[in-house]
Subunit: 228 residues, 2 copies
């Protein structure tokens, strides 16, 4: 039997993210978002609204880097990739992360930012849903490899260990499906989900090809995700 | 006097993009999106829903590459960049575009895709709003430079000219403000906007820090954008 479909409105998503932001700020205080595209683009952009940092009394946007990964999705002219294989469509652009750091550094942040862009940062990986967890675990593992490569370039041992300690990874998903996962969240990686759901079919508003108002209206008769 | 504020709901944006998609497909038929982040992330993800391509009877998602550019926005620890300066926060990851092409190529697409990722493609640059046009013109110019660099690597002259001809750029914005622009859309670049607006303050739903339902309710009493 097909799992039940739960329709979600844009405002549902907006509110779920809004409600999660204070905990994310309090427990993790991210200063870089990595959005997993396409699904993470919308949540990351919304979350940014609620996670502005303040510096010298001015509100600052947290930068978003996008990575494109595909698991279920189709790649242009390729056969569907089934199973656990994750294919990179885009990865972090370290040339601009570095440019960004060189441009952006203020004296007090200099030592924090000068090593390749990831070191010393509190990096929040954002996606819409944690289904089998495959893409999330892949992303964290690849980021850890990138961080380790950047750490190797730091010649001062004390500084390298300070940066290793200061660099943090966390995950935020709008929905976490409570089901067996293909991988574990690596140790030391904080995990935030706005809503935990049973293993239902989540019909996201941005996937609605028909009348979006009707999608929202049908949603009213949905069982609430929390009560499923 | 501050310009009037026009509140927009997520469904307004969804419907505006939905209504634009058939014309974009008919007149341009994009096969690669480049989303200008943060503003272009949400429109690009929504547009993808309505622009699926069909190949061998299967629906295919159009890949999205993200670029991060900042004009008005703040960069982490940097002073606000005022004026016409555009700062790259992220650019296209050509290593994965190429990987993508090598992985993705089917025999009939081989010659179309093998040269660096942009050649032979119909590239749609997506953003939320065309205000002064600075960021859009910057993006198109930089992409044209990248395309020219990739063309220089094609040794066969006839093939190079064929690819030059086949590579197309276009722009899609949800809102185009009818006002003097700091730059012109370069010749040969198609331009699509979902809604043309006067020079008003567009309050996007993803920027709403308060109650999103209230934002939507207040919107009902808005003058309609089309009637302003």
């Amino acid at each position: 039997m097909a799992p039940p479909m739960v329709r979600l409105s844009y405002n549902d998503i907006h509110k779920a993210i809004q409600a999660s932001a204070p905990k994310i700020i309090k427990d993790f205080a991210p200063d870089l978002f990595i959005a997993i595209g396409g699904g993470g683009f919308i949540p990351a952009r919304i979350l940014r609204t609620f996670c502005k940092t303040t510096e010298d009394g001015k509100k600052r946007n947290i930068p978003i880097q996008a990575v494109g990964l595909t698991l279920y999705e189709s790649l242009g002219g390729i056969e569907e990739q089934i199973g656990n294989e994750v294919v990179r469509v885009q990865w972090i652009d370290f040339s601009t992360v570095s440019d960004f750091c060189q441009t952006a550094l203020t004296p007090q942040l200099g030592s924090k930012l000068k090593h390749g862009g990831l070191l010393g940062r509190r990096i929040l990986v954002v996606d819409e849903v944690d289904d089998t967890r495959t893409t999330l675990v892949y992303t964290i593992r690849e980021l850890q490899k990138d961080i380790n490569k950047q750490l190797e370039l730091v010649t001062d041992v004390a500084e390298r260990e300070r940066l290793r300690e200061a660099t943090k990874l966390a995950i935020f998903v709008v929905h976490n499906k409570l089901k067996p996962k293909a991988g574990e969240v690596p140790e030391g990686v904080q995990y935030f989900s706005a809503v935990d759901t049973p293993d239902v079919w989540l019909a996201y508003p941005w996937e609605c090809e028909d009348d979006i108002d009707e999608h929202d209206a049908l949603r009213v008769n949905n069982p609430k995700v929390e009560n499923l």
